[in-house]
Amino acid sequence: MGFTATKDKGGVMVVQVDGQLIVGNRQELKQLVQEALDHSERKFLVDFSKAGYIDSSGLGALVSISKKVREQGGELRLSGLNEDLRSLFELTKLDTLFSISDSTKQALAAF
């Protein structure tokens, strides 16, 4: 359970969420992105293809990250949401706030 960050050749920070994004680990994700912003990273992809669960505070953390990235003139995308997770974004209308791609590949191509 945790996050793996790797930099793709196009300069995108790909953060893989392993398992779940919840009240217990959202702080870790926020920190990871903040540090990358401090190191002048500006393109972020959060990938959920290995995640099965996001709670409301996990959604809150994503909203917070997206604000920070935007404030720095950066770009944030999400990918790999399964059917349940995608419906979570729909019912909270957060699908209108985030750029969501089916796969990492599609998301990376969109930067």
């Binding site: 919840i22 709670d55 604000k67």
Partner: protein, 154 residues
């Protein structure tokens, strides 16, 4: 979670009769997800794991996580000596969850979820929204410190 939780299961072997699983959970946010995992497992022990059952179990987990987090944070201010009561009833037609804290409660009618485009940037306020969207019915006691959520079984 290092401390084991203790849950009480009341049931017959007849799956057509109600099963009741109850427990008390200390007000520690880190314990929520693991407790929920265990509760869901025992509430559905004995059901054939069909895809519908899996979806129902996922919904149940979300209802439990969100209501427990609220009870712990707003009801008990994360005081680990205070316990949140959880009771799950499962019968052939529905799954019903009661989550009760000992706090002051609140007025659920006064809560506005951040659904307006201008509000989407708000970081909080989506817990009750998720509960209302996923559950088939939601009710509170008059004091507002006990929530009852029902899922119809397909």
């Amino acid at each position: 979670m290092t401390q084991p939780i203790r849950l009480v299961v009341r049931r017959t072997s007849d799956v057509s009769l109600p099963v009741e699983v109850s427990t008390r959970i200390p007000s520690v946010l880190d314990a929520v997800h693991e407790s929920v995992e265990i509760l869901a497992r025992h509430a559905f022990a004995g059901l054939t794991p069909t895809p519908e059952c899996e979806r129902l179990r996922n919904k149940l987990k979300t209802l439990l996580c969100e209501s427990l987090a609220n009870a712990i944070v707003y009801g008990h201010h994360e005081d680990p000596t205070k316990f949140v009561g959880v009771r799950i009833e499962v019968d052939t037609t529905m799954v019903r969850v009661h989550v009760t804290d000992t706090g002051d409660g609140f007025d659920p009618a006064a809560i506005r979820p951040p659904l307006d485009p201008a509000d989407l940037d708000r970081e909080t306020g989506r817990g009750l929204l998720m509960i209302h969207k996923l559950a088939d019915s939601v009710s509170f006691n008059p004091q507002g410190n006990s929530i009852c959520m029902t899922l119809r079984r397909p």
